[in-house]
Subunit: 243 residues, 2 copies
Amino acid sequence: MEKFTITQKERIGELNGTTEMMEMEFETIENRDSSFREMEKSMVKESRTKIKELLHEKYMTKTVEVGRNLEQWLMGEGFTKVVTPTIITKQMLAQMTIDEYHKLSEQVFWLDNKKCLRPMLAPNLYVVMRELKRITNEPVKIFELGSCFRKESQGAQHMNEFTMLNCVELAYVKDGQQLDELKRLAHAAMKRLGVPEEEYELVVEESTVYGSTVDIEINGMEVASGSYGPIFLIVSGECLIPG
Amino acid sequence: MEKFTITQKERIGELNGTTEMMEMEFETIENRDSSFREMEKSMVKESRTKIKELLHEKYMTKTVEVGRNLEQWLMGEGFTKVVTPTIITKQMLAQMTIDEYHKLSEQVFWLDNKKCLRPMLAPNLYVVMRELKRITNEPVKIFELGSCFRKESQGAQHMNEFTMLNCVELAYVKDGQQLDELKRLAHAAMKRLGVPEEEYELVVEESTVYGSTVDIEINGMEVASGSYGPIFLIVSGECLIPG
C-alpha cells in the first residue's frame, strides 16, 4: 500500500486537512497521486470560498468570534475586562514560583536580564487584583484575553504565540462551595460556545491543602483549567482559544 | 509664588490630574501643601468611584470601549478584522525600509539576531494583503487592532507598549478620488468616536510621486495618519487608541 509523501502531507495540513486524510492508503503510486490532485483541488476551492465568506460576510475569523463570545459571557457574569502589559519582569514570574529551576522557564522569551514576554496572564492579573482589593471592599472579578508567548519544541503544531483567556474572582462563595462554582463556570463557558455536554469531560482533582482543580477535557486533551485556593478564596480559570 | 514639588506633581499625574493642576501657583508653602492635600483627597475619592463604576457597571475600560467602537465601525465599512503575530522578522522590517540605518530601528525590541517585537502593524498587514490578493480578485479590506512595541526615551509619558489600529484597503476608487476617500474615512472615524469637527484638523500633504498623506491632529498632536500610494492603490490609515 502507498501512503502520501511528506510534501503531500504538509500540503494537506496547510489546507486544513484532517489526520485521517493524511494517513490514507492507496494501491498504486498513480492512484495516490491522482487522488492527491483531486483532494488538493477541492480543498483549495473550499478554502477560497471560506476566504470570500470571511472578507465579504463575516468580517471576523472564528478565533475572533470565539473570543468575543466568551468576553460577552464573562461581562454578563460580572467580570471586568482588563488589558495588561505583554512585557513582564523576572520578579513577577518568580512570585508565581516560576524561577530558573521551573520547567516553564526554558520556554520563556527574554528581552534582557530582567524582562520577558509573558508566558501566561496570571502574574499580571494577580497584580491588578491586589491593587483593586486595596481600594475597594466589594467583590472583584476580572478577566483578560490576550497573547502569551512560549518557546515550543513540539514542532509545527505548536505556535510560539497563543491567545489565552484567564478570569480571576475573589469569590464570595461559602467555603465548600468553591468547587461547585468552578464547575458551574466551566459548564456555562462550554454551553456558551455551543459544545454539548457529551463532547467534553470535567476532570476534578481535589486536595485539602492546595485547593482543587477542575480541568475541561475534550478527547483527553485539556482545553481549560480552573482552580481555587482556600487561603485567598480565589477562583481562577484559564483556557486556550481554539485557533 | 510656590509651585508643587516634584513628588506632589507625580502624585497628581498618577491620579490623572491635568497639566494645569500640576502648574498651579500658591502664595505660601502652607497654602500649597494644604491645597495639595485637598486635591489629593478629592481625586482619590473620584478614582475610587470610577473603579467601582468600572467593576460593577461598565465591565470595560475606556480604551477597550474605544477599540470595540472602532472595530464595529470598520466591520460596518466592510473591513475584516485580522490577528497577526507579535513577533516578526528583521527581513519583514527591512521590506518596510526599516533597516539598521532607519531612525525607528533604535527603538525596536530584539529577541535575537533575526526576530523582534513588531514596532507597527504594517509589515504583517502587507503580507496578509498579498496572500489574500493571490487567491481572490474581489476587493480586499482588512484591519488589525493590536499591541506594538517601541523603546521610548521620552520619559514616563511614553509607554513601551501601545495599541495601534491599522486598516488597509486595496481601494476600488478612481484615480484622483483616493484623497477624498481618505478624508471621508478620517471624518467617519472621528464622528464614530464622538469628536466634533471643531476639535480636530485634517492636515493634508499632497505629493504627485509618492501619494498623499492625511493626518488627524488635535491641538497640534497627530492622533492618526492615512496615506495612499498611486502604484498599489492602497489606502491605509493607522491611529493610536487613547489610553
